[in-house]
């Protein structure tokens, strides 16, 4: 997903727009930006500063600065949960764990090697089980005894659960088992940082109440989830943009900005 979020100088959110991320981040970023501007009815040149983040951050031609998703997520989460110490983001391409102090990342761990422990794991398997990802949470809450999923690799786990299902295991028990597999994997990653509360979970998967429950079981502590767990990265980027802008204004300078046009960028590598 590509998300654009606009705030005013006080950090008040003016507009939020989400669009699927296709291979052409570039063009999409432009479209999503367009829509966000319309929603806030602003002209692009009225935007003071733009920070791009995430995998496609290099491909937002109208960005003034590019900052990694780790820093942006931490900042966004901190703005919503001032007491956050451990931020966990389970995205479609990776899982990120951040130790956060006053909104800054002090240590982090990422899993982008393998689908297990990412949102993709559930997406892939949901298809095989013929259920909607967004329904998995409620389905799993019906479970009385979860089925242990022994395969870590997404592909083999999918194979395994299909087999379990055909052996007559209950769908809800299997889905609960899947959530458990993801949670144990992500918490294993987080443990390399020493987990401290408050723990905040973000990313599309955070909407899944089954995952949240499984995470709490593995973390042995409460897990906080923002209202819209998808946009914390963009929110953090916007706040950092605001800060960067205000700092330079305070220094009496003008923050270096790029030419503000939704141009078709010529590509660099």
């Amino acid at each position: 997903m590509t998300k654009v979020l606009l705030t005013d100088v006080d950090g008040k959110v003016l507009s939020v727009v989400k669009g699927p991320t296709g291979p052409e981040h570039r063009r999409l970023a432009n479209e999503v930006m367009q829509r966000a501007l319309e929603q806030a009815n602003l002209q692009l040149d009225l935007v003071s500063y733009v920070v791009a983040t995430g995998y496609g951050r290099l491909n937002v031609p109208f960005a003034d600065r590019r900052i990694t998703e780790l820093t942006c997520h931490a900042r966004g989460v901190y703005s919503l949960f001032p007491h956050v110490k451990t931020a966990i983001d389970i995205g479609g391409q990776d899982a990120k764990c951040m130790k956060v102090s006053h909104g800054r990342v002090v240590n982090f761990a990422m899993n982008d090697k393998c689908a297990a422990g990412t949102g993709r794991f559930l997406e892939v398997i949901a298809v095989a089980l013929g259920v909607k990802v967004e329904d998995m949470g409620d389905i799993s809450l019906r479970s009385r005894k979860k089925v242990h999923v022994s395969n870590l690799c997404t592909v083999f786990a999918r194979q395994e659960v299909v087999a379990r299902l055909s052996e007559g295991e209950k769908l809800e028990d299997i889905v609960a088992g899947l959530h458990d597999a993801v949670a144990s994997r992500v918490v294993g990653l987080a443990r390399t940082l020493r987990i401290e509360p408050d723990v905040v979970l973000t990313g599309g998967v955070a909407k899944n109440n089954g995952i949240v429950r499984a995470m709490q079981e593995h973390l042995r502590c409460e897990v906080l989830v923002p209202e819209d767990p998808l946009i914390t990265g963009a929110l953090g980027a916007a706040i950092l943009a605001k800060d960067l802008w205000q700092e330079s204004v305070a220094r009496g300078e003008r923050a270096p900005t790029e030419l503000r046009r939704l141009k078709k960028a010529t590509f660099f590598t």
Partner: protein, 389 residues
């Protein structure tokens, strides 16, 4: 080409086609001996007029042949080295000398010897500790190497020859240190990427040619007014088993000045010097066991190994890094390892303790020795710089 007169350009050129000079020398009748690890005493090769050639892997070459004999959960660097050997990418080598510096070196050596038919192959054992009897044993291993080298070349490795080779290599060590002096200013006069190109060039050329190259480079860099690296907020120390591709160095330098590379693509082979003892082999043995700061060698608090006080232990193992941090005004460190590098990986928590103690923020980053690992590496490196920026 006018550029050829300039040292850095020359170093870059050698880096880009490392084997070119070796192949040329071979065509002219010299014999080239490969070695995959810093523990191989190149002095002994140079002394017999052999060209020492440090073999590396290639992160751009997908590993396919190595699977014949090596599992995937194995040092990706040695997998790649072995893969390149099986693909005859180093077919200009007349022989190989491998040292038992770590398991992957030792295990791969056996396969190397059986799968690639070099006219000459020698395996040296390396003791685990620096105890006197161990260093003496290593000296014995050196005389074994001497014996097979003499048999291979049909020449005698005389004390005189060895002494003069040691002098050449000591000069190279001194020159590399001199060049590293030039990363001390802010901004440094020479970049980590350039240093890597120079060091890998040195490991592909006869020692004398390497020394000439170094002199050219030093002259050029000292006289630099423009074209040097720009000032970055971070002065970085990289601690690694091997960092041998500029693509990786460039990722690091996107947000930092890499002023010290504690690895086999940097300072490791050039720290200290060989003492010219009456029996030069003794000096060699001492140097390789004492001065090479590779994690594979077991060192600890006090000799005799009867005390084990942690802070004292850290000082003994990592103390030299404190001086580096001070002299090069380093303000951050990255522990950059390929996966499955056990000797180094076991050091990570202790070394990070030590960096904490000297007040340097550090991070451990693990990467696959492969091109596809560069994108994830970039995100981690950038994020680390953001955390300390």
């Amino acid at each position: 080409m006018p550029n050829d007169s300039r040292g850095l350009a020359k170093a870059k050129q050698v880096y880009q086609e490392r084997s070119r000079r070796a192949r040329q020398l071979r065509a002219e009748g010299s014999r080239v001996i490969g070695y995959p690890c810093v523990y191989v005493p190149v002095e002994m090769l140079s002394a017999l007029g052999l060209v020492p050639y440090r073999t590396y892997g290639d992160i751009r070459e997908p590993v396919t042949e190595a699977d014949r004999a090596l599992p995937t959960s194995f040092c990706p660097f040695m997998r790649s080295c072995f893969d390149c050997a099986l693909k005859a990418k180093d077919d200009f080598l007349d022989g190989m000398v491998v040292a038992h510096s770590c398991d992957p070196q030792e295990k791969t050596a056996r396969l190397w010897e059986s799968y690639v038919g070099y006219p000459y192959f020698h395996f040296m054992d390396v003791p685990g500790t620096v105890r006197p009897e161990a260093v003496e044993y290593f000296g014995g291993q050196l005389s074994d190497l001497k014996a097979t080298l003499e048999a291979f070349t049909g020449q005698e490795l005389t004390v005189e020859r060895l002494r003069s080779a040691i002098q050449f290599h000591n000069e190279q060590r001194a020159l590399v240190k001199e060049l590293y002096e030039l990363t001390k200013p802010a901004p440094p006069l020479v970049s980590g990427t350039e240093m890597l190109q120079v060091v890998k060039a040195l490991m592909s050329l006869p020692v004398a040619e390497g020394n000439d190259l170094l002199k050219e480079v030093i002259g050029e860099v000292q006289g630099r007014t423009t074209g040097g690296p720009e000032l970055k907020p971070v002065r970085l120390l990289v601690w690694s088993s091997t960092l041998d591709d500029v693509a990786i160095m460039e990722i690091l330098e996107s947000g930092a000045n890499v002023v010290m590379d504690e690895g086999c693509g940097g300072m490791r082979a050039y720290r200290g010097e060989v003492k010219l003892t009456d029996e030069p082999m003794d000096g060699l043995a001492r140097h390789y066991m004492d001065d090479i700061t590779c994690a594979r060698t077991f060192r600890q608090g006090a000799d005799g190994e009867t005390t084990k006080e942690y802070s004292q232990d850290l000082e003994k193992r990592f103390g030299y890094l404190k001086d580096v941090v001070e002299e090069w005004s380093i303000n951050a460190a990255i522990l950059l390892l390929v996966r499955y590098c056990d000797p180094f990986a076991f050091e990570v928590p202790s070394l990070r303790d030590y960096f904490d103690a000297v007040g340097i923020p550090s991070i451990y980053i693990e990467y696959d020795y492969a091109e596809g690992a560069l994108a994830p590496l970039r995100t981690r490196v950038e994020a680390f710089f953001e955390t300390i920026g």
